[in-house]
Subunit: 266 residues, 4 copies
């Protein structure tokens, strides 16, 4: 399965401005990438740093005037896709240290407030079965509504409004999964069949590997918008929530000019 991505963004910076860019597919074993990659208009400097959990890279850039980034890549995905509902959760004390931070509340995911709800709705389910039930609950109750949320909308807002975009679906799933004592993180990605075509975002949850030695676990994608096929998601980066994996974070005024995303399956 090959996924071909063409994405481009353009901004105008009235003054010299530092900004972080994270729009390239991550170089990780499950994604084999070929193609021209990223082309940028000239900038004052370019510095790459590792993304969260060493997945993908963030690029520091600084420029003024019009900035344009064009990205083109083809990704071959090879990813284990077990039935999540059959996976047990790790016992808390078996969790590796790198998964633990994904249990805590983050900017848009106030998991602490969801304990009673989770216990009442999903208290009889554990591990992957509970994650699957949370996915189904959100998928069934929510309506995908472009424009219905803003940059400050939290999972608490979305929970009652029952609508949002991919960012909001991911935040609600992450919040509920964390409230269950299961690590969950936010994945910024590309995927075919996202309507309207755009950057996409899904949740990723940490569950036990039933076939592995005790204490082995891994991350599994969950998309409650049901627009993306897990086998075809091309990961860009991960973080606690959307606050940590914007495709562009500017430290100064950035005027949006254009964004074009095309993801096709070949």
């Amino acid at each position: 399965m090959a996924i071909t991505i063409k994405s481009s963004i353009a901004y105008n910076f009235a003054a010299p401005t530092d900004f972080l860019l994270q729009m390239e597919a991550a170089v990780i074993p499950e994604q084999v990438l070929t193609g021209p990659g990223l082309t940028l208009t000239p900038t004052e400097h370019t510095a790459r740093v590792a993304g969260e959990d060493a997945i993908g890279e963030r690029i520091w850039l600084r420029c003024s005037g019009e900035f344009r980034a064009d990205y083109e890549i083809t990704a071959e995905i090879e990813r284990a896709l077990p039935d999540i509902s059959q996976l047990p959760s790790m016992l808390p004390h078996e969790l590796p240290s790198e998964a633990v931070p994904y249990l805590f509340d983050s900017r848009f995911c106030p998991a602490d407030q969801f304990h009673s709800f989770i216990e009442a709705e999903f208290g009889d389910l554990q591990g992957g079965a509970r994650v699957a039930a949370i996915h189904d609950w959100v998928a069934r109750k929510f309506t995908y509504t472009p424009g219905s949320s803003t940059a400050t909308t939290t999972a608490l807002d979305s929970f009652v409004e029952r609508q949002g975009v991919c960012r909001d679906y991911a935040h609600v799933v992450i919040t509920m999964v964390r409230a269950s004592g299961i690590p969950a993180r936010y994945v910024s990605c590309y995927a075919p069949n996202v309507e309207p075509q755009d950057f996409h975002a899904v949740a990723e949850v940490f569950l036990a590997d039933p076939a592995g030695p005790p204490g082995t676990g891994s991350w599994h994608l969950v998309d409650a918008t049901e627009m993306a096929d897990r086998a075809k998601i091309v990961k860009i980066g991960v973080g606690r929530d959307a606050a940590e994996v914007s495709f562009l974070t500017s430290y100064g005024m950035a005027e949006f000019i254009d964004k074009q995303i095309t993801v096709t399956e070949t």
Copy 2:
């Protein structure tokens, strides 16, 4: 300088409950620890994982009934204490990847909303001079008021209420520093002269080492409550904000029984 810490907490768990404990001083070069350390009532299991940024450890425990942790240690602190107001900030593209996550919004620190305020109040200051001015601003405007905040109080709430406890002071400083494009994290700690005696919390900011090679930086403590002397702070752990470094995080009902902290200088 030796700091002696005696701390104990007691909780009751009605049912078998997993919880994370993080109340030991971190084993890091700047803190030489001697003494009996941590004593726990019997638990079902004990598993240690590294704390955030490999500073300190979190301990997974599981038990039911009364749980008690007693901790006793003496710490010799050796820590560089430059005048923060004289330190330059790193250029963004020089920041190491591990500092970058501390630029983003977190649960209690919505830095994004503070850009205009920061630019208007501190726009003429850079780097350490700006951090020092933020420290002074918070120290001068705020009143330390036990009981004035709750577990859901954000830096936005505290900013207008102008009161709080150490947690709230740290959150406001962190938020304003991040809004300045300077990494800032939350430090849970012990310190003498904290009134009333309790766990303490301060901010830590990442600034350039003026004497080091280009692109070298380090973390520096900032306590806008002005109760703790930087030379005498014993660090427990760090995180994005209070959501990530509670001394106890329970995955189930935990009934508080007692907490006693004594920190003395000898």
Copy 3:
């Protein structure tokens, strides 16, 4: 049915302070009051103003030092108590002007965010049947938990936390009823069988009088905590939500000393 109320509150004011007191049963046709009424320690002045919707009175007081209010009254209640689930709602254009403000969002009741939820959960029910279903939903899903909420907890918080005190139950019911296009207000009151004994709060909804001429409606009590019998509730005052009917609102520092409420049925 006679309800006997004995309530007293005591506060200390370090400096001369203005404050509003609203703790007397309202003089309204459905409540016939007898007894000594309110006794206050000396204050600088006393001025009574009508409460919201002319139900009950607010008393402006000003004093410094210890303030104590003792109140004793017996109320005979005579109140129509139709089965709410059988009452039709008014058509919006039939609502009297005094009911219309109770359709809007207020401090603790962000009804606007609840439209999708309400439509999905209760969309097939109208008028009183919907109000009854909302009552049942809250009564079934929520746990009455003293100490679980704070003075800034909104109906959005309570909605997910699924716990709270009478104030929070009332806010959630009001919010959901308003999101249904039915006016709802907050009623501060006394009632027997409230555990622990305290001031109580319930919702009140505006529905059509099926027997009256077209366009006639009236207010009906709804207590999702199910602690108070509608026939025995003694109303103090009404408002958009708790922000408007505190028993004491101080314009300066007020130190709480004591509060005692006893409500008995004789």
Copy 4:
């Protein structure tokens, strides 16, 4: 001074929908109105109810399909315009009952959180002098930025973001004035020189009449955007905040088509 208003709005309702319209200038002594008034496309019914504090009217309408309202009026304004900074505030116990509700927290105006700030910044000023200082503070610190706020932005958000539109300026002023123990309400209005031309909103504060008998007070307009001349503001309606005086509140899906406002001085 004659102000000529031409305003029109158009919406589409996919299904029969009830909605409230409030876009006519209020018939109150200070505004003498002449002209054709309001013209509506056909609706299922039309019912007028008094606006808040009997200022202006709300119109209940119900229709499906395209709805269009055209309004044209000329207003002669005669309004006392004393220098606000010279007006004393009422003593709290002198406030008439109708002003008291405007002391409390409302949806977008959490005045309770602002006490410390207000005391620290404006504690040495009283009454109208304080209101004038609040006006100046907001006018000086804030930047009028169309598009910077959303329908859920509160005065707390705006306070730190230091930008917004007329709605946000009014909310911040109202919140700070209420935190000073002075009643403040929200006024929806038309005014010349509003850029871009649109419905406008300002605050109104209740202060003592120095020439009147003791206990006499009245409402005075405050526009911290400084776009509108108090002598030329044509009031539509008042309320606790923006939640209560939308020009259109729909109880169902309403698709925005168009809005045109022209206010000229002749």
